[in-house]
């Protein structure tokens, strides 16, 4: 019993990390698709503004995740020349990233619809 509880807790913690990472990856990809090439700070501000503050991605999470998206081929990056300020690293979504995001959003909508239907009437 205890070993299962132990595994359950560890799995929950792992799942906790995975689900945040997975959701945020999708949020960042969709944001990049909407904004076009953008650097990290402004991308996060855009997400915050467009969701009326409901999604606030902290920098300590976002920057490593952007790098992982790039390593995975879902985003690419380039450095600005810094003529009007310090050089900035701009990210843009790749075609692969767009494809993955499209599929993930479709899955999300299907899941959302299924869960909504399942929950319908609960608590009334």
């Amino acid at each position: 019993m205890l070993a299962w509880n132990d595994e359950r807790k560890r799995f929950r913690e792992k799942l906790d990390k995975e689900r945040r990472s997975g959701v945020l990856a999708l949020v960042l990809l969709v944001a990049l698709d909407r904004t076009g090439p953008e650097y990290g700070y402004r991308l996060l501000k855009t997400i915050e503004q467009q969701t009326n503050g409901r999604i606030v991605v902290k920098e300590g999470t976002a920057y490593p995740l952007l790098q992982k998206l790039e390593r995975g081929g879902l985003a690419s990056s380039y450095w600005s020349d810094g003529s009007s300020g310090p050089p900035r690293k701009y990210y843009q979504i790749t075609e692969l990233g767009r494809q993955v995001a499209r599929e993930a959003v479709d899955d999300w909508r299907a899941l959302n619809a299924a869960v909504s239907k399942f929950l319908d009437g609960f608590g009334r």
């Binding site: 999708l26 409901r54 606030v56 902290k58 790098q67 879902l74």
Partner: protein, 252 residues
């Protein structure tokens, strides 16, 4: 550039496990982000001292060690700024760069989709998690114990057991898990004692057992390297007892 930000980035740089080019690019990107955030804060609150604004600007980046860890040792495998991914595929390596990138992208996509699928499943029931994402704490397990006390009760002290931290942990998490035995019996008490290298008791608690229970304690103090000891004492305890000690920071 502020002193706090410089110091923070120096620590990140020390902790990053990547090649030099990637490391410099990471630091440059982070520095740009911090400068911009600091400038925005200074514009909103021009009368606030700069060091206070710096602290605030750094808050959402988390600790330098955790930030460096989040970039991961995989950062060392970043071959080029163009994002080319090189994977060891055995015979497939010989098929050429295009195939390598294709398979790399497929593997990466599957892994990401799995992560996204899990995220999507949990997101609907846990939307509040997305609001105000808290910084992730990376815990490492330092010590675990699991004992089964049934049908005979356990009585008496176990330990002290010890584990050493070479650099000192900033934060320690104690997870205590108490379960009834297979027949549903649970009773008695368990006392847990956690002592730092200087012999100071950091945690002492007695759990009176009435059934399944889970307790988590987060302990913080100034990092202290050395040998920590943990002991627990049973008082006619029946059931199953588990303890996990995890640390943030420090090397085990």
């Amino acid at each position: 550039m502020g002193t706090l930000i410089d110091g923070y980035l120096d620590e990140v740089k020390r902790s990053l496990k990547t090649d030099a080019t990637t490391r410099d690019q990471v630091i440059q990107e982070l520095r740009g982000a911090m400068e911009e955030k600091l400038a925005a804060l200074a514009k909103q609150r021009p009368e606030t001292p700069i060091d206070e604004l710096e602290k605030e600007a750094l808050t959402d980046f988390g600790s330098p060690e955790d930030l460096a860890l989040a970039y991961g040792p995989e950062g060392a495998h970043l071959r080029r700024a163009s994002g080319e991914i090189a994977l060891k595929l055995g015979r497939a390596v010989g098929r050429g760069t295009k195939q390598v990138i294709k398979w790399g992208a497929i593997v990466g996509t599957v892994a990401l989709l799995l992560g996204i699928a899990l995220g999507i499943w949990a997101f609907y029931e846990a939307a509040p998690y997305v609001e105000g994402i808290v910084e992730r704490q990376v815990y490492r397990e330092a010590y675990t114990v699991h004992e089964h006390c049934s049908p005979q009760a356990c009585d008496g002290q176990r330990g002290p057991q010890s584990f050493a931290l070479t650099d000192g942990a900033r934060q320690v998490r104690l997870d205590v898990d108490i379960d009834a035995d297979d027949q549903g019996h649970a009773g008695g008490a368990v006392e847990v004692l956690f002592v730092d290298p200087l012999g100071e008791t950091k945690y002492a608690r007695t759990f009176n057992v009435t059934g399944d229970a889970f307790y988590r304690e987060e302990l913080r103090w100034d990092p202290l390297a050395g040998e920590y000891t943990i002991a627990f004492e049973y008082h006619d305890f029946v059931g199953e007892f588990g303890l996990i000690v995890s640390t943030v920071g420090g090397r085990i």
